[in-house]
Symmetry: C2
Subunit: 217 residues, 2 copies
């Protein structure tokens, strides 16, 4: 069984990402002990970690609350993502193993299958997409890069991008995945970086369009 603090972390994180804890929702330690069935000590650790990852905000003597992406400069967040994941893809191109490339292909196929079934808005698809990106970052072989990337990809907005795509955008995204794999096979760092950069820029464009559409004005 997972330790109490990671259990608490995972539960609370899931509540935030799923949206059951909406932005601004206060994260009261005593309430969370009931939800997670652990004592306040591991709950506090989980909260500090979530704050560190940007999923929650914190004021001293007042506690944590769910972060509001609306407060943030989305352009900055996505610029950082292009820089960091682009660099990661470039590094990965010359370091990734055959086994990892195979994993990427499996995930790409899985996502394409889910799309064909109309299941592209499901958590399963979001998970596959996350793993795809994660494998690339791990293939870059830099612990520091991994922790830095954690700060820009592990946000509800990013994790739910797939759900915002139109059919065209979704197809483009699938093709990006395939092209990334091709770049890795060719061991071409600049190619991989370029595709990854486009992949993230496209995601940002979709999000901006989606946000404008939902709240026009």
């Amino acid at each position: 069984m997972a330790s109490a603090s990671v259990q608490a972390y995972e539960i609370i994180r899931q509540e935030i990402i799923s949206g059951r804890f909406p932005p601004g929702h206060r994260l009261i330690e005593s309430d969370l002990t009931a939800l997670c069935k652990v004592s306040r000590t591991p709950v506090r650790e989980a909260l500090r970690r979530l704050v560190n990852e940007g999923l929650a905000e914190f004021s001293p003597n007042h506690g944590a609350q769910v972060a509001d992406p609306g407060d943030e400069d989305l352009e900055a967040l996505y610029e950082l993502r292009t820089l960091i994941e682009g660099y990661g893809a470039a590094r990965a191109a010359t370091r990734i193993s055959e086994a990892e490339i195979a994993e990427l292909e499996a995930l790409a196929s899985q996502m394409e299958a889910l799309v064909k079934k109309g299941a592209d808005h499901t958590p399963e698809a979001a998970g596959a997409n996350s793993r795809f990106h994660r494998i690339i970052l791990e293939a870059a072989r830099s612990a520091r890069l991994l922790s830095v990337a954690g700060l820009v990809v592990e946000t509800p907005l990013v994790l739910r991008t797939l759900a915002r795509y139109s059919a065209d955008e979704r197809d483009r995204s699938m093709r990006h995945h395939r092209e990334l794999i091709a770049a890795f096979r060719a061991r071409d760092a600049r190619w991989a970086e370029a595709v990854m950069t486009g992949h993230i820029k496209a995601a940002f464009a979709a999000i901006r369009r989606d946000l404008a559409q939902r709240s026009p004005g």
Copy 2:
């Protein structure tokens, strides 16, 4: 008075940065309670934070120990720094206030004065340099950028770069500071980014030279 957990954080961090806790040194919670005069609870919080910032490493049920920079890919660390601080400088160029520019000038002057006094290897000089970089990152007006930057600038190696410079390298660094200020005055994002990139590349070159010199093999 600062809260117990930040007090613990600052004390332990100082021990690590100063080198009194060398790489690999185990950070035993009970020992640290004695050093920081607080209980284990805030000590644990401080340790988790240091781990998050990459100053310490952690294994479950075994605790934390001081991170060893030798374990790390320095090229990756410095590439990330150029990307992140370069981007920060570019953003800052169009957002920085007059007051902040004035602060930068004051710090540049202070560092130049310290150099003239031969006091450029002191913690005072290192502090001024840190503040210089921090003001720029804050002027970029992105909380996310700030936290990401924390992961790549707050490392002992980076914080003690000044002490590694030769006379020439030091002078070049001082000139970079002045040129950055000029770029900010001109509100020229690309200029600022270029100078910052060079500034960090130069630092990396100095470190690499210094490391090779000290342990030739």
